[in-house]
């Protein structure tokens, strides 16, 4: 790890949601959205949390923002214990962290002018005078590639990419240190996606921002992150620096996830070499015993179904939660080699 202390440190984070009570005699169901997650991000770096829907990546990000109740664990931001704050103390600490939401349409109030939207955090946090706030909003518009006079327009007068720029400007208004990016480009067209990713990279360098980047898109993650954490059913199954991960993912789920991404150069050959996962992830209400991925893992053994693997450091800074991986050369699933025969229609 980097010698300087981490800006964000998350330890043992759990976010459980109480579900329905199906019978008076039974306790209510509990959704284990995030179930014991640890990570840290050094200042000026980007950690990507990746996973499929229901893996708990967004719940983890919202917990860091304190936008969902934290069931257990601690969240530290540069020495402050965010998870212990409430009320006024939490509001003051929130200056230091902001979030960019996924959907550029529903995350902007259609009745507010763009300038007002960007100024709102400054007003709520009582930062600066009225003139200073106005000037800051104009500056932010320029910083994100909009024209200052566009402050007078309403959200519906902007395209999806421009709305995401407004979202970014709003997130940057209070000069945060940590910005949580929750799938910031997944709702955008490919050409616009590149514009926004480049903008996020540039702003990170200029403003020394730290990003917690939530995404399901491996190509986007490869482009933007310094470190990757792959989540499956509420837990981190693999964590590694960007190059180590993308050159050589070790956890069977990571390997399968990478092999599922269609690439421009891959063509049909890639499709035939794919690792086929069967079925859907199990429900986060009734978690399976043992490894949570065992039911879908082509390499799973009897041991995997019984005993829960721990997240172990298999090489420096590369952590894997798998019984079958204990060194950098263990690969229970290799991207091409161990493909099961292509069987026709499953009927």
């Amino acid at each position: 790890m980097s010698p300087e202390p981490a800006l964000l440190e998350v330890r043992g984070l759990k976010v459980h949601f109480r579900g329905r009570r199906r019978s008076l005699l039974r306790p209510p169901e509990v959704v284990h959205a995030v179930d014991g997650v640890d990570f840290e991000i050094a200042r000026g770096r980007t950690l990507a949390l990746v996973g499929e829907s229901g893996s708990g990546k967004t719940s983890a990000a919202l917990a860091v923002m304190r936008l969902v109740p934290v069931t257990a664990g601690t969240i530290r931001l540069g020495g402050e214990v965010l998870s212990a704050y409430e009320g006024g103390a939490l509001r003051r600490a929130r200056r230091r962290l902001q979030i960019i939401f996924q959907d550029p349409y529903s995350s902007l109030n259609p009745r507010q002018r763009a300038g007002e939207i960007v100024r709102a955090p400054l007003e709520l946090m009582r930062i600066g005078t009225r003139e200073e706030r106005e000037a800051r909003a104009a500056g932010l518009f320029r910083a994100v590639g909009l024209r200052p006079e566009q402050r007078w327009l309403f959200p519906h007068q902007f395209s999806g990419g421009q709305r995401q720029r407004i979202n970014i400007a709003r997130a940057l208004a209070s000069s945060p240190e940590l910005v949580v990016c929750d799938e910031p480009v997944s709702a955008l067209d490919v050409a616009i996606r590149a514009q926004i990713l480049n903008l996020l990279s540039r702003l990170q360098t200029e403003l020394k921002l730290t990003y917690l980047f939530i995404s399901h898109d491996m190509a986007v993650v490869e482009h933007i992150c310094d470190e990757v954490a792959v989540m499956y059913l509420g837990q981190i199954v693999e964590r590694a620096p960007r190059r180590a991960f993308f050159a050589h993912p070790l956890h069977p789920y990571s390997v399968a996830l990478m092999s599922a991404v269609p690439t421009v150069r891959g063509g049909r050959v890639r499709a035939t070499q794919r690792i086929r996962l069967v079925g859907d992830p199990p429900s986060p209400i009734d978690l399976p015993a043992g490894c949570r991925f065992a039911g879908r893992c082509p390499a799973a053994t009897e041991h995997c179904r019984v005993e829960t693997p721990l997240l172990r450091e298999v090489t420096p800074a590369h952590w894997v939660r798998c019984h079958l991986v204990s060194g950098p050369n263990d690969a229970p699933l290799a991207a091409a080699g161990t493909v099961r025969p292509h069987n026709a229609s499953p009927a």
Binding site: E52, S53, S159, G161, Q162, D189, V190, A191, I192, R193, A194, Q195, L197, N198, S201, R202, H216, M218, A219, V220, E222, H223, R242, R243, F246, A247, A256, L257, M258, A260, V261, P262, T263, V264, R265, G266, G267, R268, R270, A271, R274, R276, L277, G279, D280, A344, S345, P346, A347
Partner: protein, 331 residues
């Protein structure tokens, strides 16, 4: 009909929408052909006319304000634009069927999936009762839904997104259509589920000989699925060719931009990251399209004539055409 005539042949298709701001040319001179067992990819950003093309083929353009104002759509030689409404009802879901983008909203929440799949069997095939049910079970098994006997009586909300998309595919393929139009069939799904759906489409295509029109913005999906590709921009076809040629040697600056702005995955992972190539600006609103090339405003290589004259399609290689003045000297 000649033996080598295409199954579906679209020629000079025009669609216009009358709005308060004037007439928008949503599709201008769109043409492509599709052979039996082939997959044609239609690529472009939102607002380029991909989905409109699909709706026009099925004559489902909302009218008013929309109108098919010209062109020909031939299915096995029969011009669908001259067909009666009754004949179109026979075509839809039976000879040409469609999978919509949103598996969450395209299924009726108050009917079981079995009822919904058997509807087209009842309407087109006259199948009822036990025979229809047996065929629905076959379809559910063919699209890889486990425990089909139980699933057939379930409602859409009891299924995951991937399962619902499988139901949509089962519904679309129930009558063994000759042409399947898949409009962004996997955008709402996770990649591992997307991979399962693509495998399924390929398997069904191989076993039934269905021709597929795959509408997507994902060049990766094109690379895996398509035989030939049509790239659309501003309601026009700007490039057309084999998937291999278009991905390896894109001729139109728009296609080049679409490929270059994708973050690449695979191969070596460089330590230093370079900014992604960008296509500046956004897709222009269709009522603002002028006479010239619709991409001219965003094109880094635009020539003076691009703004005033629409380039014709130049053949850049055999069976590979690009509508761009940069290729005019090679023609």
């Amino acid at each position: 009909m000649a033996a080598d005539a295409p199954l579906l042949d679209v020629e000079g298709l025009r669609v216009e929408f009358r709005t308060t701001r004037g007439t928008a040319n949503v599709l201008s001179d769109v043409g492509f052909s599709l052979n039996r067992g082939e997959t044609l990819g239609i690529v472009g950003e939102s607002g380029c006319g991909k989905s409109m093309t699909a709706l026009a083929v099925l004559r489902l353009i909302p009218s008013p304000p929309g109108r098919i104002s010209g062109g020909r759509i031939r299915l096995r030689g029969e011009d669908l634009l001259r067909a009666s409404e009754a004949r179109m009802r026979e075509v839809r879901g039976n000879e040409i069927s469609m999978i919509f983008q949103e598996p969450m909203t395209s299924l009726n929440p108050v009917f079981t999936v079995g009822d919904q799949i058997s509807e087209s069997l009842r309407l087109h095939g006259g199948l009822r009762g036990a025979r229809a049910r047996a065929r629905v079970l076959d379809m559910l098994r063919a699209v890889g839904i486990p425990a089909a006997e139980r699933r057939i009586d379930q409602y859409p909300h009891q299924m995951s997104g991937g399962m619902r998309q499988r139901v949509m595919i089962a519904m679309a393929l129930a009558c063994r259509p000759a042409v399947l139009i898949a409009d962004e069939p996997t955008t709402a799904l996770d990649v591992t589920v997307q991979a399962q759906i693509f495998d399924l489409l390929r398997e069904l295509q191989a076993s039934q000989g269905t021709a597929i029109v795959l509408i997507t913005h994902d060049m990766g999906a094109i690379s895996e699925m398509a035989d030939r590709v049509v790239v659309m921009y501003g309601g026009r076809v700007v490039e057309e060719g084999s998937a291999e040629a278009i991905l390896a040697r894109p001729g139109h600056p728009y296609t080049q931009g679409l490929i270059a702005c994708l973050p690449a995955l695979g191969g070596d992972v460089p330590e230093a990251r370079t900014p992604l190539a960008e296509i500046p600006g956004v897709v222009p609103p269709l009522w603002e399209l002028q006479h010239g090339c619709p991409f001219a405003q965003r094109c880094s290589r635009a020539l003076p004539r691009c703004a005033s004259e629409m380039p014709p399609a130049f053949e850049t290689a055999p069976a590979h055409r690009a509508a761009c003045w940069l290729h005019s000297d090679q023609a």
